[in-house]
């Protein structure tokens, strides 16, 4: 299992591995927002939590179609499916690798981009906390979407369409935590919901992903 994780990390970090793609996209979105809505800092600080969450979500979405497709094309998945490792672990590791290479960098970059958008001071910690809790769910849900569309030639668009509604609850609660945190309001309820969604998806969704992958490998 560790071997698979290390290999995926190594692959992501080497040339052409796609590491930094999501990060670059996140940066582009946040930098462009003030140009499109205007430079008033009061407006920017109101929408900052939402924009940062949306940017992180889209950056995550962008990197999903590479998650399983490369292993599918070169036959690695065939061999992994016959290996002693259960497919449930394989998809969990894949999601973890995706989070480490995409989600975690986004979490770390978010406070710096928050400065650009005049995020109110109390919002920084809540932004990082909400993203830290929310991004793993996005990776796990994304893995499910990637497993559904892995055999398709032009699965990218379909993948986005399938994952989009699945991301809604995470986005709502995650952005709500960041928004309320920035405004100095109570954040407990959405934070609990967000954590609940993440825990439940991590616990249950890998079974669905593995089942779907098995069907696709037939």
């Amino acid at each position: 299992m560790i071997a698979l994780l290390l290999r995926d990390l190594k692959l992501a970090l080497r040339a052409g591995g796609g590491f930094g793609l999501g990060l670059a996209f996140f940066l582009i979105v946040t930098v462009l927002v003030p140009f499109s809505v205007g430079p008033q800092s009061s407006l920017l600080s109101t929408i900052a939590p939402g924009i940062l969450w949306l940017g992180a979500l889209l950056a995550c979405l962008l990197s999903l179609d590479r998650l399983l497709a490369l292993d599918w094309e070169d036959g690695s998945l065939d061999l992994l499916a016959t290996a002693p490792l259960p497919l449930e672990s394989v998809v969990t590791i894949k999601a973890l690798a995706h989070w480490l290479t995409t989600g975690l960098p986004l979490v770390l970059a978010a406070p710096f981009l928050g400065v650009l958008l005049n995020l109110p001071v109390p919002g920084f910690s809540w932004l990082v906390i909400s993203l830290l809790i929310g991004t793993p769910a996005m990776s796990v849900i994304g893995t499910f979407g990637a497993a559904l569309t892995v055999g398709l030639k032009r699965g990218g668009l379909l993948l986005s369409l399938l994952v989009l509604p699945l991301y809604v609850p995470t986005l709502i609660f995650g952005a709500e935590v960041a928004r309320r945190g920035a405004m100095g309001m109570e954040t407990q309820t959405p934070l609990l919901m967000l954590a609940g969604i993440t825990a439940a998806t991590i616990a249950l969704l890998p079974f669905a992903s593995a089942a779907v992958l098995r069907i696709n490998l037939r």
Binding site: L148, G155, P165, V168, P169
Partner: protein, 257 residues
């Protein structure tokens, strides 16, 4: 007949030929009664019910909005049930029925959204408000789109049936979750919407004065929509079965060269 025997008899309809024969026999009944119910219900509602004291004549929209919204949800529930039957018992008719139902669900959701938006224009002063109920239907619409797109994208019919069934299961959980999330995110702002909900759920007198005058034509329309849905599903499932058979025959022809 014992319950087990009855259950077995029900599974008989999972046989495509038997399904086609039976559905052919009962379909005229559903077509005729459904269209009769809808026509009578709509005429009754449109011409012979008074305007609401608060909403004026827009109350007449509920005869379309409520049944469509009802069927948009029921259609997904039916797809969930048939998907489960396919995953557990592997009856092809069941999977094809789910496929046949999805576009009906899309149209029902569209009607609910369109009438909601048109109704919202004078009531809320805007075509679209992120009202929890409208938003939930928008999300449901996205689920339907994804489901249909997945069916269309996969070539192997059994693989497509399997994958869409799993998507339907997972999607149902997330749809419920979204419903809750959306309610939390925007606690119902619009009194007007609750008139429609009250009419849909209880159909009885409520504080908002959805009285029996509106209820009977509405009930007729709801029955009509349910029957129309059944007729459409039966018809479209027949089409899907034939399309599947064409595919199988052509594949057979290729194999035997």
């Amino acid at each position: 007949m014992s319950i087990a025997a009855k259950a077995n008899a029900l599974w008989e309809y999972a046989n495509p030929r038997k399904f086609l024969a039976t559905s052919e026999r009962v379909m005229p009944f559903f077509w005729i009664t459904s269209i009769a119910c809808i026509v009578v219900g709509l005429i009754w509602g449109f011409f012979f019910t008074p305007d609401d004291y608060k909403q004026g004549s827009t109350v007449k929209i509920i005869y379309l909005h409520v049944p469509a919204a009802l069927m948009a949800i029921n259609c997904w529930l039916m797809m969930l049930a048939t998907s489960l039957v396919w995953l557990v018992r592997r009856h092809h008719v069941s999977a094809l029925a789910a496929r046949a139902a999805a576009p009906i669900g899309i149209v029902m959701t569209l009607i609910a959204l369109a009438t909601g938006a048109i109704w919202g224009q004078p009531m809320w002063g805007t075509w679209w408000a992120w009202d929890p109920r409208l938003t939930s239907f928008l999300i449901l619409f996205l689920f339907y789109l994804g489901y249909v797109a997945l069916w269309e994208a996969i070539e192997d019919p059994d693989t497509a049936a399997d994958l869409t069934s799993v998507l339907c299961l997972v999607g149902s959980v997330f749809a419920l979750l979204s419903r809750y999330a959306v309610n939390f995110w925007n606690q119902g702002l619009h009194q007007g919407a609750s008139v429609m909900r009250a009419a849909a759920v209880t159909g009885a007198d409520t504080e908002e004065k959805v009285s029996n005058i509106y209820f009977y034509p509405l009930l007729l329309c709801m029955i009509g929509f349910v029957l129309l849905f059944i007729a459409l599903v039966l018809y479209r499932t027949g089409t899907e079965i034939r399309a599947r058979r064409i595919k199988a025959l052509l594949a057979r022809e290729r194999v035997n060269g």
